[in-house]
């Protein structure tokens, strides 16, 4: 049998395509159960919030729960069709965070709720599109440099005159007609993919550290240069755009990925030193950084002006106490930007320590699931990508929650899945789709379910089969099969 025939038979399902896999089935039933539970929880929270705010059961509650369930089931069915081996908890966890965020936004501002509903639909579509488009995680590795370029352009866009827009002091927005979006939210994914592909290829070379400078053993400059370039680029652009939170996020992402890739703890130390230096430098140079730090150390003495937001946030939290004021019964609108950076304070106020802890638990579980994917997969690129994507979600959550509860200085950044905003929601659902794709890929390689060909592969196979048949029928030689990979 020729190479081409073997491929076409494999791809056409001569092997056990769609064969029964108990593990995959169990994961999907888990996901289905959890997704339905999430829909019920969110429906209940939505009703309670409306009761608390207006003392009446919302008119469209049936429609709301229906659409919510339909969206989640749609996402679930797509996962079942194209990534049935993937971890079953990621989608429900994200949906829970997203749903609680949506209820909170609805409760804070009806107008934003309508927009957020639209963004939710777009985000689920983006999730599905990503799953359909990225059929093999390894495909992404091939386009590492493309992602670098995309990330760079996205980061630079807000600085373009006429296109970029400054909102609340940070120039991280791009205005296209009526649409505003934050390209930085997408750049983080592009850069994570680039870092993963670059480091997967060259991690041994970088780790070898053959370049001796005095007592130091450093990686060859030509291997480390592109990453330093990417990092420096991101950091400089971010500082230029006054977006401290994203700057910190990129920095951490870079340091963590190079540390995991090289297995050298020295990079963490180097990162800490570099960060300390950069932080000290920006503290001395930029007024807005000094303000942030001052407010972090003592917001109380400025509780009516610059410290107002953080102080109100803490008042909200303390007012909520253990069990919260009840959805719709607190005053989270007292905190400026409650629907955005400070949504965690709103949740803490109205759902109490218990509700806020549920948010923290959800993030810990997402981090756990993401890093489990990294542990299970045997391919360096996928490991690094899973680490990068998980780090983004985990660290971003920590930075903003920590800022809101005065653990770290406040930096404007969204709380993944929870905060208001289309860019944030869509980019995080894309990130989620990539994690699910990675999870599915590793499950297939581990033999937990048959490694079915992807739809693209089947389509290619079908075309190839047709060509082979025609050639055979007409007695012509069978064409080249180069470029096909099984």
């Amino acid at each position: 049998m020729t190479e081409a025939r073997r491929f076409s038979e494999y791809a056409n399902g001569a092997t056990a395509r769609g064969a029964d896999s108990p593990i995959a089935r169990r994961r999907r039933s888990t996901e289905l159960t959890l997704v339905v539970m999430v829909a019920l929880i969110i429906g209940a929270a939505y009703t309670i919030a409306a009761l608390g705010t207006n003392a009446e059961i919302p008119a469209g509650i049936g429609i709301f729960v229906g659409i919510l369930l339909a969206l989640l089931l749609f996402a679930h069915v797509v996962v079942r069709l194209v990534a049935r081996g993937a971890d079953g908890t990621l989608l429900p966890l994200a949906a829970l965070l997203h749903g609680i965020g949506f209820v909170m936004i609805t409760r804070l501002d009806d107008e934003l709720a309508g927009l957020q509903a639209t963004w939710s639909i777009v985000a689920i579509l983006a999730f599905v599109a990503t799953l359909l488009f990225v059929q093999r995680a390894t495909d992404l590795a091939r386009y590492g440099w493309l992602f670098f370029a995309v990330g760079a352009v996205l980061l630079l866009l807000p600085m373009l005159p006429g296109l970029g827009a400054s909102i609340n002091g940070a120039r991280i927005w791009v205005s296209l007609g009526p649409l505003n979006f934050q390209p930085g939210e997408f750049a983080k994914i592009a850069l994570a993919i680039f870092f993963a592909s670059y480091l997967a290829e060259r991690r041994e070379l970088i780790a070898a550290s053959t370049w001796k400078v005095g007592p130091l053993h450093l990686p060859e400059p030509r291997y480390i240069a592109p990453i330093l370039l990417a990092w420096g680029f991101a950091v400089i652009v971010m500082v230029g755009e006054k977006d401290l939170g994203s700057s910190l996020l990129f920095f951490t992402l870079f340091v963590v990925m190079i540390w995991v890739a090289t297995e050298r703890v020295g990079y963490l130390l180097l990162g800490a030193i570099l960060f300390g230096g950069a932080a000290y430098f920006s503290w001395t140079q930029f007024g807005h950084v000094q303000t942030r730090v001052d407010i972090w150390i003592d917001p109380w003495s400025r509780s009516l002006d610059r410290g107002y937001q953080i102080v109100q946030s803490l008042y909200g939290l303390s007012d909520g106490g253990l069990t919260g004021t009840g959805l719709g019964r607190g005053n989270p609108n007292q905190v400026p930007e409650a629907q955005n950076d400070f949504i965690f304070a709103s949740i803490g106020e109205e759902m109490g320590l218990i509700g806020a802890s549920a948010i923290l638990m959800s993030f810990i579980l997402i981090v756990g699931a993401g890093l489990r994917i990294a542990l299970r997969t045997d391919r360096t690129f996928e490991k690094l990508l899973a680490v990068g994507l998980t780090t983004i979600v985990g660290v971003q959550g920590f930075i903003i929650i920590g800022g809101v509860i005065k653990v770290v200085p406040l930096t404007g950044i969204t709380l993944p899945f929870v905060s208001y905003g289309g860019s944030s929601l869509i980019s995080n659902y894309i990130l989620l789709a990539l994690l699910i794709r990675l999870s599915d890929s590793s499950a297939r390689r581990l033999g937990e379910l048959p490694d079915d060909p992807t739809p693209t592969e089947r389509w290619k196979a079908w075309r190839l089969t047709r060509t082979v048949h025609r050639a055979e029928n007409k007695g012509r030689p069978i064409p080249e099969t180069a470029g096909l990979s099984t």
Binding site: W259, V260, Y315, G330, I364, V367, K383, T391, F398, G402
Partner: protein, 511 residues
């Protein structure tokens, strides 16, 4: 790489554990401290955005009520006081930025429906979609009596208090100057601040309910207390006769004490009480001695905060008593209500009420009852005895003495009631002894009627009255007509025959 990934997992989990610990710190550990901070408006804001029930007088007039605001207003409700300044001393005000006072403050939990009982009761209504548990407060005060008090006071500085001697129910309690809460409760912060600051700095402190939050030198009305103490001590009786004299030098001094206007005055107890001579009561106080006198005033509740169901009540005082044994002249002067004696107008009404009520001083109350959102009674004030300073027999004797004041004494000019209803009274003129203004006085009267079956006790205090060469200030002449007007209004006038209030509220409970 797996080792690093596990370490990363631990690191990230550690980060979230730190967040969890910090969250506990803020939400539970420092909850109370943060909630108590001055710039934390959460709790008051939450209360502000709750429906708030009305405050209603016992004759069914709404004194405070909330209306929902149009969408877009900063707060969900407006608080309005339809009676303007008439009941402000009792209802108080309810503001976002400047707190709340009086009934609005003390009964805030009833008005917003947050008492435990209301919460439990409103559970049943939750299913019907109505979670408005706002309760209402019914005052003991009558709108008509309060209006009469305001009218009779006619803008003069002072207080009028009417209580029911048998229960302690306050039926009227009005004082000038006062304020209209509508001028600032719904105003923007800056305007409200301006108005409140102006009121705080205004003469006579309009924001204070002078009738129960301020005390004034009582003058001769205090002789009721001195006489009653002496009767209880057994050193005075109707047979006691005081010599006719115009001045008397108490121990430890050479400065003589004089009667009012330096007149010569004496006779039996009924006569000196009716004519309000000073010297007999100075002598009585000296005879009682510092200890018995101080103990006696304490028995009348002097020195204690008045146990009214409103916040920040004042306490009457017999002055500094630490060295009274070495300051017998002061004791003598205080015996007839001068020097450091200071009485709360409400307390003086209660003193009249004690005599009227056979010697029992009832706790005064301004709130008759509280109701839940459906108009069911939450709590109804039951009358309570506060003090029993004098025996029924001596109270009867005191009544006779006070009838003498009304019929033949210092009040005979002005207190005779319509329809010949017997009345008992005691006047007082407190000379403030201001070196710059020797003619500045407080004019007092306390009275109750009908003297044989008392229904109402009244105290009128006209404060900081200026004597002129033509008209000398006396309690009988200035305050007497106001007390008469009050008692006439309530006993034979438009306010008569008003049945004791039946519980009515204006809460629309939809049933």
């Amino acid at each position: 790489m797996n080792r690093q990934i596990r370490q990363l997992a631990l690191g990230l989990i550690a980060c979230y554990v730190v967040l969890f610990v910090a969250l506990n710190y803020w939400q539970v550990g420092r909850e109370q401290e943060l909630n108590a901070r001055f710039d934390n408006t959460r709790q008051v804001l939450r209360e502000f955005n709750k429906p708030r029930g009305p405050i209603v007088t016992s004759d069914g007039i709404v004194a405070a009520v909330s209306f929902p605001t149009a969408p877009g207003e900063p707060y969900e409700y407006r608080r309005e006081y339809p009676t303007d300044d008439l009941l402000a001393d009792v209802t108080g005000y309810f503001t976002f930025a400047f707190g709340s006072t009086q009934v609005e403050r003390l009964y805030g939990d009833v008005l917003t429906g947050s008492t435990a009982e209301q919460q439990v009761r409103s559970l049943g209504d939750l299913l019907s979609g109505d979670i408005d548990a706002a309760g209402s407060v019914e005052l003991a005060l009558r709108h008509d009596a309060q209006s009469a008090a305001k009218f009779l006071l006619g803008g003069q500085e002072g207080s009028v208090v009417v209580i029911e001697p048998a229960t302690g129910a306050i039926r009227a309690m009005y004082s000038n100057p006062t304020y209209d809460p509508n001028t600032f409760v719904n105003a923007d912060f800056e305007i409200a601040q301006e108005v409140i600051t102006e009121l705080q700095n205004a003469d006579g402190n309009p924001l204070l309910a002078q009738a129960y939050q301020e005390r004034y030198m009582p003058g001769s009305t205090f002789k009721v207390v001195t006489t009653a103490i002496a009767l209880e001590a057994g050193i005075l009786s109707l047979e006691t006769v005081f010599p006719n004299e115009s001045q008397w030098v108490p121990p430890q001094t050479n400065d003589p004490i004089q009667n009012y206007n330096g007149s010569t005055c004496g006779g039996d107890l009924a006569t000196v009480f009716a004519r309000s001579c000073n010297i007999p009561f100075a002598k009585t106080a000296i005879e009682l001695g510092p200890e018995a006198m101080v103990a006696g005033t304490e028995a009348w509740g002097i020195g204690e905060e008045i146990p009214i169901d409103l916040p920040r009540a004042a306490a009457s005082t017999f002055g500094n008593t630490d060295n009274l044994a070495q300051e017998l002249p002061l004791l003598a002067i205080r015996g007839f209500g001068q020097s450091e004696d200071q009485m709360v107008p409400l307390h003086m009404a209660m003193i009249a009420g004690t005599v009227a009520n056979g010697g029992q001083m009832m706790k005064p109350y301004a709130v008759e009852a509280t109701y839940d959102q459906a108009g069911r009674v939450l709590d109804r004030t039951s009358p309570e005895v506060w003090k029993t300073p004098v025996s029924p027999a001596n109270a009867a004797l005191m009544t006779d003495l006070m009838i003498g004041v009304a019929e033949r004494g210092t009040a005979s000019c002005c207190i005779a009631l319509e329809g010949g209803i017997p009345v008992a009274a005691k006047t007082g003129t407190a000379e403030l002894g201001d070196p710059d203004n020797l003619d500045l006085s407080h004019a007092w009267i306390i009275a109750f009627a009908p003297a044989d079956a008392p229904q109402y006790a009244v105290a009128v205090a006209l404060t900081n009255v200026q004597s002129t060469p033509d008209v000398a200030v006396t309690g009988g002449r200035l305050a007497g007509p106001i007390a008469k007007g009050m008692l006439d209004f309530l006993l034979t006038g438009p306010g008569a025959g008003q049945a004791p209030p039946t519980p009515t509220t204006t809460v629309d409970d939809g049933t």
